[in-house]
Each structure stands twice: as C-alpha cells, then as structure tokens.
Subunit: 339 residues, 2 copies
C-alpha cells in the first residue's frame, strides 16, 4: 500500500463555469479506518454533471464547501475493514471523493459484484444505466410505439436511455450538440433521428424529427431545450426529469423558467415527475438482471469514456460540463484488483 | 315559447383585458332543431375563466372567433327533441352559448337529473365540484395529514377543493385576493389558513402558513403564485394543474415561465399533472354520489354566486376575471322549469 494519499481539494467555489484553479492537488496520509469504517483504494471515479451542481447549493445532498476534498462517487477496493459487511478485496461504491484512499462508514457504501470490466459498475450497472432504465419504465411509463425524445442523448444516461427505449419498442429521437455526435447517435446507437441543438432553432428540427409530437420527453438538461420539447408534447405526454445540466455550470441561476408551465400541462394533460435513481433502489436487482441480459445478448451497447490517471480529474469534469464526453465518463485512478 | 332569441355575439376578440364592447346584443329567431338535434331553453349559464382562455387560441377545444354567438356551457330545459335520448322537460348540459335558445346535437349534450336548486348542477354537481374532487383525489393523490395549498381558493373550484381536502383529513391553506376573502375562507369555509396574495410577498406569507412546506399544490392560476408554491414544495410533493387564470385575461402570453422548472422537480422528486375534468367522466357517478352525501350531511357547503338576467352575461364574465366572484358564478337566464 502507498504511504501517501493524493487528493484534490476544492479550494474555491466557482462563480461561473468551473475552472482548474478551483482545485488544488494535495498529499495526505492514508487514513486509518475507525470502528465501523472501511478503508478503500479508489479504482474508478465517476465524473458527473451533478458534481458541479453540488457546488451551487443544497440539492438532494448538502452543498459542497471550499477547503475539503472534492466529493465524487466512485468504486474502490476494500483494503481494510472495521465493518462486518466488508472484507479486504471487496468492491464498494460510495462517495470516495477525489483521492486515492478513503476511509468511509461501511453504512454509506454499497457492495459491488465483480464484473468485467469493472468500469461497467459505474456505467450500465451504475447510476447511469439504472437512471435510464427506471426513468423510462417507471417515471415516464414509456410504451411501445411512443415517440421518446432524450436530451443530452450522447451523455452517460442518454446513451443508455435511447437504446433502452428502442428495445422497449419506442421511436427514439436524441438531442445532442454537434453533427458528428448526432450521426453517431443514429449510426451507432440506433436512434431513429437526432437533433443538433447547436445548428439552428431546435424547435424546427425537433418538429421535423417528431412530426406527430412527443409522447415522452426524458429531460437531462432543462432550460431552452426543455421549453422546446414541452411545446411539442402530445396529449397525455409524460416528462421525466433527471437533471438540469444546462443550469449547473452557469454564473447564476436562470432568470426565468420555461414558458408553457403550467398552461400546456392542462391543455395537453401532461404529467411530469422528477427523480433520482436511489428512489428506485428497492428494485435495483430486477433492473440489473434486465440490463445484464441486454448487455450479454449485445442488444445494449455500453458506451464508456474512461479517462486515465488521477491527475486528469479536474479536466475530465470541466470537459464533461462542456459536452466533451460520449457516454459515461469516469477516471481510472487505481489498477484493477489482481492486475 | 318566446318568438325571439336574444343572443350575445362575440364581435371582436380582446387584445388585453376583456371589455364589454367585445360583445353585442342581438336578436335572432328561435332555431328549429334538425334531425338528431335538441332545442333547449337556457336556464343557467356557467361563467368561467375558461371562457376567456378560449379567446386566446386553441386549448382543449378550438378557439373562439369573432362574429358568432359567444360560447359558454350551461344547463337548459329541452323544449323539443329530435334525438332519441331526450324528451321535452329533460334538463341537459352543453355548450348552449350566450343565448336564450339553442339547437344542439343531442350527442353533444349530457342529460342532467332534477336537483333542487338546479344551480347545483353547475356548481357542486358540475364541473367545479368534480374538478375539485378528482383533482385532489386522483391527480394530486392527497392523503390525510398532507398540507394542501389551493390557489384561487375563493373561486368556483377552490371553495370546493378546500372543503374536500379538509374532509379528506388534510391541512388546508387557501390563496386569495383580499383580506376579506381570506377571513371568509377561514371563518366560513374551514380553511386552516389563508394567504392574501395582494398584501406583500406571497413567498413570506405562504411560508408562515406552511412552515413545514407544501405536500399538495392545487393550481388554478399559474404565474407568480405557481412559482412561489413550487419553491415551497416538500419532498415528493404533488402539483395538480387545472388552469392558469393569471394568464387568460392578459394582453400577451407570459414572457417567461416559473423558475425552478425542472430543477426543483429533480431535487424534491415532485410530480405534476394537468387535467380537465372530462378526463374522469368515466367515474362521474361515483364522484357525484360522494359529493351528494357530503352536501346532504352538510359537511360540504355549496357556494354559488348567481347573477340574475340574460343582460348580465358580459359583466358577469368580466367581473369574474377581476376576481369579483365568490364560489361558482353563473347567470340565471330562464325561469326554473315548472316555476
């Protein structure tokens, strides 16, 4: 085991778009687990737009504050355990933070199975895959034949949501930034159509892609794209909200919300629901079994964007906030167990 | 039977707040019902904010256009029937329009029972009562102990919604314009608290009335009040949208929507659904039986605001749009059958 523990501290909260100087590399001692705690060696760190949202204030968790190790969820290998549920060699998921070693309460961790590659624990079998699965099936109640529009379609959740909706028999339309991403969505991921929000009014291109309107809108972004999708919903349409990426990396909160709320909800009898994946953890095993079967039969492609090396963490997050990722982004920090 | 049929024509669409000169009194012949039609003598005309919304464009029905009899729903007595389901003396509900006699397809009418007073057909046993009933029970899924906030609480739907929520075991908070209306809500209608949106920031008074936050928001108004209520929702809160009165009588559509959409929906896992009462007509009998039992046992007060006389129609609607009504407003046009 290493004698030092590299960490990135969040040294200042960003005022606008996140920059590298919000973080400082530091070294600390490898912590000693206390009673009930587990010492983990970080393997893979999840890079999520939510990391940036946590800097804005309280969300579904308390806000981050400057002067501490940057929070982030990842997968680590148990090195030492003082909690009865964990033993050395186990894999666990939790808020390890941007550091090579973390001592965390066993109760805050979720034990993970060994899968190959272990990166799948953070993508299809992790928050992204489960968010797509529950968001479509439970929250949006997608049905065969529905036209399903997915924003941030080339992102971590979007790459799974588009494919799962197609497997469910829906017509799928992805919204993403750039022609190349859009071509990739249709050519590689099987989206029926894709809309490049950076090229001209989304309103027109979305209408061209969904001439009969939208049954399900799976929203990852909020903002203007949300407003546009809302305006093109069909009667009895459903909106699943799983994030509002467009607002996370901004200097200030949006001056206004989407037009058409609540009037269009009445006229078209729309239903909208926000969720985070842990709301459905009680049914995690059922979802994982389904996802595993789709992956094993090659019906579901697992798109991962693995950035190598601990030092890459700040740039990996900043890049994600600028849409540089394709599929689930994570940073590999430690060697695979047994490697 | 009269030989002439007084009518109000909508002669121009309003550009901003509705004015009397949008209407012109006219006289026509009493129409002859064609095959499949029913001739009705208007008894009571419902006065609804929706009448104004129909002038803005297509909603859940086609937009009104200038140069025709003003559309409105009401109850009439069948004078002559060429439809097998109706006979002279029957009561029926439908889009009679602002006129003393209307010939309408029998298929567009709903037969009504005789109740005393027949005004109840347009209030508690009509759209208002059923909207409150289904909105709380089905759309908002209100549960005993919930804090339920109702906007336009002194209006047609609000007066029923507040009482029904209380009967269901909820804590009820009404939002209305003016201290007198607010006192009436608590003293006469049994609301636990009332917020006067015309006196100071609603945000503060709503927080004072709901220190632990809002479980259910029953929205009748949209706009700023919607935004404020949204910001004070509790985890897993539910919003039922049944109209957006604040936007109906304006010169232009709102420049922006409520802040917090969709972000707060994710953070707090909110659900929102728009509806109109006819979505639930399949279960109308069950609802009417329940409402009747509450009325007969005096648990539910029926608040009606009956304006007398055909000529009052334009002013009754304009006044309603300025919040002049208390409870369900309607205009009595014809004498009760058998009177």
């Amino acid at each position: 085991m290493a004698s030092t523990n590299r960490q990135f501290h969040l040294v200042q909260l960003p005022d606008g778009p996140l920059t590298r100087d919000c973080f400082r590399l530091a070294e600390a001692a490898v912590p000693e687990p206390k009673d009930g705690e587990v010492l983990l060696r970080a393997l893979l760190m999840s890079v999520d737009a939510a990391n940036r949202a946590w800097m804005q204030g309280a969300t579904y968790r308390t806000a981050l504050s400057a002067g501490t190790v940057m929070s982030a969820r990842g997968v680590g290998e148990v090195v030492e355990s003082r909690h009865p549920d964990f033993a050395p060699g186990d894999l666990a998921f939790g808020d390890l933070g941007w550091q090579e070693y973390a001592a965390l309460p066993g109760n805050s961790l979720m034990k993970q199975p060994r899968v190959t590659p272990s990166s799948h624990l953070l993508s299809v079998y992790g928050i992204s895959g489960l968010t797509a699965y529950f968001g479509l099936r439970e929250v949006a109640q997608a049905k065969p034949g529905d036209t399903v529009v997915i924003s941030a379609a080339a992102g971590a959740v979007g790459t799974f949501a588009g494919q799962i909706a197609r497997i469910m028999g829906c017509r799928t339309v992805g919204i993403a930034g750039g022609d190349e991403k859009c071509r990739w969505l249709t050519d590689e991921l099987g989206y029926d159509a894709a809309v490049n929000y950076k090229a001209g009014p989304v309103s027109e291109s979305l209408k061209a892609a969904c001439p009969d309107g939208v049954d399900v809108y799976f929203d990852n972004v909020g903002g203007e794209i949300f407003e546009t999708a809302l305006s093109q919903m069909k009667m009895n349409g459903r909106i699943a909200c799983c994030g509002a990426v467009s607002t996370y990396d901004a200097a200030s909160q949006p001056a206004h919300g989407p037009r058409g709320v609540p009037f269009l909800f009445v006229v078209k009898r729309l239903a909208m629901r926000g969720f985070i994946v842990s709301d459905f953890f009680g049914r995690r095993d059922e979802a994982l079994a389904q996802l595993r079967s789709w992956v094993e039969t090659k019906r579901l492609k697992v798109i991962e964007d693995v950035v190598e090396g601990f030092e890459s963490l700040p740039d990996a997050l900043i890049g994600l906030l600028h849409g540089k990722n394709r599929g689930k982004r994570m940073v590999r920090i430690g060697e695979e167990p047994g490697a």
